[in-house]
Amino acid sequence: MRTTVPVIVAFLSGIILVVSFFFQETSFIGGLSQELKVWLTIVGGFTLLLGVVSITRVNFSGVVRRRPGWGYKILTLISIFAMAIPSILPTSWSPLFGRNAGSIYDWLFVNLDSPMMATMFATLAFYIASAAYRAFRARSAESTILLITATVVMLWRVPMGEALLNMLPGDIPSFLNTYVMGGANMAVQRGIIIGAALGAASMSLRIILGIERTYMGKG
């Protein structure tokens, strides 16, 4: 019961999608698979809410049990509710509700959430510089190849660097684009894409056939 039902569900839904691929969209099985896709967008939405519930629970219990840093956790909880509650109230009550421009939701997103996300990511620039200095060494033939390619590509991607490369004989920028990016790099990416596609397909096959059950967890 606990594993059989899920395995059957996965099998039926998977096989319908596979078979429908070989038939016209207007056929019966085409319609059926379309319905399943619509269902998936609904069930998939709930999966995202699962994460929100998890975070709320973890923070809530942290505050209740006065775990270290519980004061900060209150801030997290307040922020969750400040964002969530006005957004699900109907716009007809007040233009501050809902998700449209001018709502609390939109204001918080544009002025707090979005710039913070950008800032978090931007700190990476500093790390990449220190990595370049410390870690990026010509330790072996392979790492030397990596190093040289990286340096030249870095130069090529900025106007000032490209101007430098153009001072050297030969058309280095166009060589880089055609033979390095569109040649060697492209070929490797293609090999990796084919390999990864086979991996994903094999995983999918095993899920449909119920051989792969790790996603269910144990027990």
Binding site: F46, G98, P115, A118, E142, I194
Partner: protein, 209 residues
Amino acid sequence: MTGIEIFQTWLIAFFTLALFSFLYKDNPVYKIAEHIFAGLSAGYYVGLIWDTVIIQQLWTPMTVDGRWWLIVPGVMGFLMFTRFWKKITWVSRIPLAFVMGVTAGIFLISQLHGLVLPQMRDTMLPLWNTQGYGQLFLTIIIVVGVISTLIYFYFSKEHTGALGVTAKVGIWFIMISFGAHFGYTVMGRVSLLIGRVQFLIEDWIGSFT
């Protein structure tokens, strides 16, 4: 700038600098920003899913268009939450299996049909043509690169003899590609920093005057 705009600009500047302060050292201001950030990001999902999924995809079609059978995915969605009760956790496997099954069905086909076939076909390039040596050189690079990368990730035989040589060529190609990745990525990370600096200089410091 109006008062509210100045307030907004200062607010963004405060949180931007608060998060950057971690580069120096972990500190309470950073922690405040970090926790607010985590909460807002989680809260964003609620409004979005409530509106676009529960109302637009589920409630309205069921009540207005009479598509009552959507109750099935609706119930499956709620069953996801059984994960939070230890005794009935297993029930949440049913909607999970549905998600995994449909996704796997689409994947199995699209990976083989949409990626493997076209990528194979586009590698079948003539080694002899009239477009000159440059083109010939490029073709050789592509064919050798693809084959040797595939061989490098072939695990069923020891990499000795001809297979070993090909795999060795493969690793050189792979390193060129990773170098290109590194060079490119530097640009990406720096761009994001530039984005923040553009804000700080043009909007925030600009608001002083």
